[in-house]
């Protein structure tokens, strides 16, 4: 098992940041695949060539017949299978670590800004907004300070889902590959006809029954891992669908003023929009943005996407890409965390006028990011 420590160390980190099903999958990988392979299967296949006997005295015939019977040994095949099946998790881990680093950088920036704010003391309104923005980012980027855990949201969730999909594909590919190469069971007798063997020669495989036991075992564990991966996909997909349903249910009541009153939190989220984006919404004379709240999700999506694109253009210029997405997706939480400071009343009332537009865009973003 010491030889597997290189991979084992990396996967330990993945273990910390996986879902429950993911942790079960990793445990199955460690115990039923790596450990069994390293301790039992290796010694069972240890003498596979030295005890591969052919009924001939022709020099070289045993070599070529062994090579024909076993183009790649089962053990090496399983080693490659384990490595390729683990690789997508490493990619996800890389992304997660990148997220953590970005989070740390953001926090450092926030600390710097607060220090600057204390030094300057002027324009507190903007400073408050910025710090609230930073807090929103912190909450919504997917990093939970208290638990030290990564929360699956947005692009990180997508990476996780893709990694599971690729893992499933690899698993299926290797199971099919094993079937194509060897079938399911090993036969005791292998009849070989290959130069320099002078005629078809009987060759006898070493320990076929013991090997069959391990082959069936490893196949069963592979199928179990496949099942766990599919279960994890289903679990994530179900959660996402549930959240989408609950969001569209919340979005259905139509009266605009009612919406304004019932969701002041959403509006407060809008208050954290940096001025350029807000002005962008303000300046758009397009009637589409002020479409009434219909239940036609498609048309809402269209207007929302249009708004999103325009906002994105501004965002990229401002260099605050991730923020807007995140805040719109989780507006209630943002509001609860960042208690709104005393905003001037006029600002709030202005916001009311254009809240429809921003809400339309928020709908699209929440769909993008919901789990």
């Amino acid at each position: 098992m010491g030889e597997w420590s290189f991979l084992g160390d990396f996967l330990e980190k993945v273990h910390k940041h996986s879902t429950v099903v993911g942790k079960v999958w990793l445990t199955v990988l460690f115990i039923f695949r790596m450990l069994v392979l390293g301790t039992a299967a290796e010694s069972s296949w240890g003498d596979e060539q030295s005890d591969f006997m052919c009924d001939t005295q022709q020099p070289g015939c045993e070599n070529v017949c062994y090579d024909k019977a076993f183009p790649i040994s089962h053990v090496r095949f399983w080693v490659l299978q384990i490595i390729f099946v683990s690789t997508p998790s490493l990619v996800y881990m890389g992304h997660a670590m990148h997220t953590v680093r970005m989070e740390e950088k953001r926090r450092m920036k926030e600390a710097e800004m607060e220090a600057r704010e204390n030094k300057n003391g002027g324009d507190t309104y903007y400073q408050q907004k910025c710090s609230a923005v930073e807090k929103a980012e912190t909450k919504l980027s997917g990093w939970d300070e208290a638990g030290g855990q990564i929360i699956l949201r947005g692009s990180l969730l997508n990476t996780y889902v893709y990694s599971i999909l690729i893992r499933t594909a690899m698993e299926v590919a290797f199971i099919v590959g094993q079937y194509v190469l060897y079938g399911i069971f090993l036969e005791t007798l292998y009849i070989c006809q290959r130069a320099p063997c002078p005629h078809p020669v009987n060759c006898y495989v070493s320990r076929p029954t013991e090997k069959n036991v391990f082959i069936v075992f490893m196949l069963a564990v592979a199928v179990l891992s496949l099942f766990l991966s599919l279960a994890e996909l289903y679990h994530l997909g179900w959660k996402k669908a549930k959240e989408r349903c609950s969001r569209s249910y919340k979005g259905s009541p139509g009266a605009a003023p009612g919406r304004l009153e019932s969701a002041p939190q959403a509006e407060r989220a809008q208050m954290y929009t940096p001025p350029p984006d807000f002005n962008q919404c303000l300046s758009s004379p397009n009637g589409k943005f002020i479409s009434p709240f219909s239940n036609k999700v498609a048309s809402q999506q269209n207007t929302a996407n249009f708004a999103t694109e325009r906002v994105h253009g501004q965002e990229d210029a401002a260099g605050e890409g991730p923020f807007v997405k995140a805040s719109y997706a989780e507006s209630p939480e943002v509001a609860s965390e960042c208690a709104a400071p005393a905003f001037p009343e006029s600002y709030f009332s202005e916001k009311r006028r254009f809240s429809k537009a921003s809400r339309a865009s928020s709908k699209a973003r929440s769909d993008d990011l919901s789990v």
Binding site: S5, N63, P71
Partner: protein, 222 residues
């Protein structure tokens, strides 16, 4: 072969690498060193015992094996991995030297904060940039050289099933049969592919560093 020591040393370098450097290190450990230790060493384990020649002449098998396999694939890969990892040690030494200098400066100014010094992130700038870039350059050179050596020594990347040998003391041209040629070819191609991937990663890192420094220069001058 104990690769744990190498892992410890390179783990330290990992902290000061770029993201691409970290990916390269992961690929190195999982797809090369681990495959070498767990799989390839066993495939090549019986390469001389099961190298069979169609002759009863004593000594003929030995000389034929030696003639066709001057240095085993496994040893060549181990050398390749060591040479390719070594430039990273240059970076580690430079970082250690920088830290040492920083510590000396702080001591002189009576502001000692060892913890801060330990955790201080050293950015890849100035002389460290040159060390880092030249280490990547040397890595690329070593990879290319070893890939060529493999190609030259074994006439391509495929392991032949049958080799014809007429080295002395073999009395005539003797058929010799290599053990597990298909499996060996599979792993040779696998290691070659991963070497290629590592070279691509190194090139990408080199480009990234050059672009980064070029972008910083105009900003400095404006």
């Amino acid at each position: 072969m104990d690769w744990g020591t190498l892992q410890e040393v390179l783990g330290g370098v990992n902290k000061h690498s770029t993201s691409i450097g970290k990916i390269w290190l992961t690929v190195l450990f999982i797809f090369r060193i681990m495959i070498l230790v767990v799989a390839a060493e066993r495939v090549w384990g019986d390469e001389q015992q099961d190298f069979v020649c169609n002759t009863l002449q004593p000594g003929c098998r030995n000389v034929c094996y030696d003639h066709f396999f001057p240095i085993s694939h496994i040893r060549l890969w181990a050398l390749q991995l060591i040479f390719v990892s070594t430039p990273a040690l240059l970076v580690a030494m430079h970082v250690a030297y920088t830290r040492h200098e920083r510590k000396r400066q702080l001591k002189n100014s009576d502001k000692i904060d060892i913890e801060q010094l330990k955790n201080e992130k050293i950015h890849i700038r100035g002389p460290l940039w040159w060390t880092y870039t030249s280490s990547i350059f040397f890595r690329l050179i070593f990879e290319a050289v070893f890939m060529y050596v493999f190609y030259y020594m074994y006439d391509g990347y495929q392991m032949p099933r049958l080799v014809k040998c007429d080295a002395w003391p073999c009395p005539n041209i003797v058929d010799c049969f290599v053990s597990r040629p298909t499996e060996k070819t599979t792993f040779t191609i696998f290691m070659l592919a991963v070497s290629g991937i590592c070279m691509v990663l190194n090139l990408a890192e080199l480009c990234y560093l050059v672009i980064k420094i070029c972008m910083k220069e105009p900003r400095k001058t404006t």
